[in-house]
């Protein structure tokens, strides 16, 4: 296997993108990534397109977008792992390059959610569980699935709704500096506490928005990468895991051993092993992290699943502002899914966009110096969860070449 580096990243403006169709939206991210890499579309040898779909009209996004940004006749495919589709695309592209099948691969995440009305999106996402046993007669929604975790966490560790609000406040704070975020306004604890319930105990401001967006990551082998850039960002580890389809068969959180996702723990441990990171002290090895905060409770669960703190202590991390920039480990300093937005298939690639800029020390100029993490270890982490822990991917980026 060959080492693989990120040589170019691109990102569309996230939000309600009524101004563009899917291929035009993808073009925005891919153009920026190609310019960033110093490549033309003809240099891309394979396109892996992450798109969950269902709410949008185009059902063959890989071909649609490939033609639009000019990579024909190169091979392409669509990959789907729900909200972790973007990371799944990275894993496939990584392996295409690592194996020697191609030298340059493009991972593109694109989602056009607002081609359907909001409530149709709510229903389609809610069906993303064990359809007959959770939706058919019981009408689960995505916030409701995560609310089951929030209730369990409250009962076990005394979590308060105000604690969750702290996470929303942090992520909106950083989104306010991100020029491509869906929400660019700061909020207060009161904003969250006064918002209406979506799925008790989660309120409107505990939930990520429904967002259109795209993000692109170009991966290359060592020889190509060294020709293109002085600061290749290497992929040093990718962990992946799958969780049970039905929430009621998840042992750990229902036996109140902990309220996290078994799949995320497994993915983290795999990625850490590949990258030489100690699970118990993970925060000390990593400079900055993007975690899957589709809901505030999800970010709290991620702190613990990733080994940033012990079980039940995630609350302490946010209360002490340890996940702000300058704390133990800055988390979602781009606004996270919560406020940057969560275009389902694009999120995994969007995380790598942020983290690549962070490791290159370009994020301060792009967003705000206040959001540029101090790069000490040269490592960054992306934690991307599909469904409610159905799919989990943890990707570690490094300034140091993995096999050097």
């Amino acid at each position: 296997m060959r080492d693989v580096a990120i040589v170019g990243v691109g990102h569309s403006v996230f939000g309600n993108r009524y101004d563009v169709r899917m291929d035009e939206l993808a073009f925005e991210a891919v153009k920026e990534a190609l310019l960033d890499a110093g490549l033309s579309a003809k240099d891309v040898e394979f396109v892996v397109c992450a798109n969950a779909g269902g709410w949008s009209a185009e059902s063959l996004p890989a071909a649609l977008c490939s033609e639009y940004f000019g990579t024909l006749p190169r091979g392409s495919m669509r990959v789907e792992a729900a909200c972790a589709s973007g990371s799944a695309a990275i894993l496939v592209a990584y392996n295409l390059v690592a194996s020697g099948y191609v030298n340059v691969a493009l991972a593109l995440g694109v989602e056009k959610m607002h081609e359907s009305p909001s409530l149709v999106q709510v229903e389609l996402i809610g069906r993303g569980g064990n359809y007959f046993w959770e939706f058919e007669n019981f009408g689960m929604t995505f916030p409701a699935y995560y609310a089951l975790h929030a209730t369990a966490y409250m009962w076990k560790y005394g979590l308060k709704e105000e604690d969750l609000a702290e996470i929303a406040v942090k992520n909106h704070y950083y989104a306010s500096m991100n020029p491509k975020a869906h929400f660019r306004t700061k909020i207060t604890i009161e904003t969250v506490m006064k918002s209406r319930y979506i799925a008790w105990p989660l309120k409107l401001f505990d939930c990520c928005p429904l967002t259109d967006g795209s993000a692109a990551v170009i991966l290359a082998d060592e020889k190509t990468a060294k020709k293109l850039t002085d600061t290749p960002v290497w992929i040093s580890g990718i962990g992946s895991a799958t969780g049970t389809i039905n929430m009621s068969t998840r042992d750990k959180f229902l036996k109140l051993e902990y309220s996290g996702l078994e799949s995320a723990v497994e993915a983290a441990k795999q990625a850490y092993r590949m990258s030489g990171i100690d699970y118990e002290n993970a925060a000390k090895f990593i400079d900055v992290a993007c975690v899957h905060d589709c809901f505030t409770i999800a970010e709290l669960m991620a702190y613990e699943d990733l080994g940033f703190c012990r079980r039940g202590e995630g609350v302490k991390l946010i209360r002490e502002k340890q996940t702000y920039n300058g704390g133990l480990i800055p988390v979602n300093v781009d606004g996270g899914l919560k406020a940057k937005g969560h275009p389902i298939g694009a999120t995994g690639c969007s995380m790598l966009y942020t983290l690549t800029k962070q490791l290159r020390r370009e994020y301060g100029k792009y967003a705000s110096p206040e959001a540029q993490a101090t790069i000490r270890h040269g490592r960054a982490l992306a934690h991307n969860v599909g469904g409610t822990g159905h799919y989990a991917y943890v990707t570690i980026l490094s300034l140091e070449k993995p096999h050097a």
Binding site: N16, Y18, P117, F138, T141, L148, A150, W155, A199, S248
Partner: protein
């Protein structure tokens, strides 16, 4: 026809094209003239006993005859030992509540229901079940409170199962 469909129809009648201007962004949107109604049908032959049981007022789990593993939702094939030989066992209905939520923003398919409580409970047989909890005041819900799983008829006659406090 959906709300969007009505919009498209009206726009065509007015100006020949299904183009509407979004109120918030003032951007033009082309509304699909085709509308797809989706309703799935799935095979239940291998777990038909579950539905027969519901008609008799029982909720069944399955247990692998070879390795003893218990399943809810009931399944016909065992992933532990690959046996396809199952016992069908009716649940006693006695369980303890593990977690719950109240669905306030509902999917369009459930728009006609009042906010509903969804709970997961552990049944005395060891399996766990997700279902609605019929409770007048959710503030009375406590961790590990005792619940009873029962077969009920929804308005319109559909048979399903739900929890009730004991």
């Amino acid at each position: 026809m959906s709300q969007l469909g009505e919009k498209a129809k009206k726009a065509i009648e007015d100006k020949g094209l299904p183009i509407v201007i979004d109120e918030k962004t003032k951007l033009p949107l082309y509304v699909d003239v085709n509308e797809l109604l989706l309703r799935y049908q799935f095979g239940i032959a291998k777990i038909y006993k579950f539905f027969e049981g519901l008609r008799e007022g029982k909720v069944h789990m399955t247990q692998c005859k070879k390795c003893g593993e218990k399943f809810f939702p009931p399944r016909a094939d065992c992933p532990k030992c690959l046996s396809q030989d199952m016992d069908w066992i009716p649940l006693s209905g006695r369980g303890e509540l593990l977690t719950f939520t109240i669905v306030n923003v509902k999917p369009p398919s459930f728009a006609n229901y009042k906010d509903y409580v969804v709970a997961i409970a552990e049944m005395e047989e060891g399996v766990r079940v997700l279902a609605w909890l019929d409770v007048d005041d959710p503030k009375k819900i406590r961790p590990r409170m005792k619940v009873r799983l029962r077969v009920v008829k929804r308005p319109g006659g559909l048979i399903t199962y739900e929890f009730a406090p004991t």
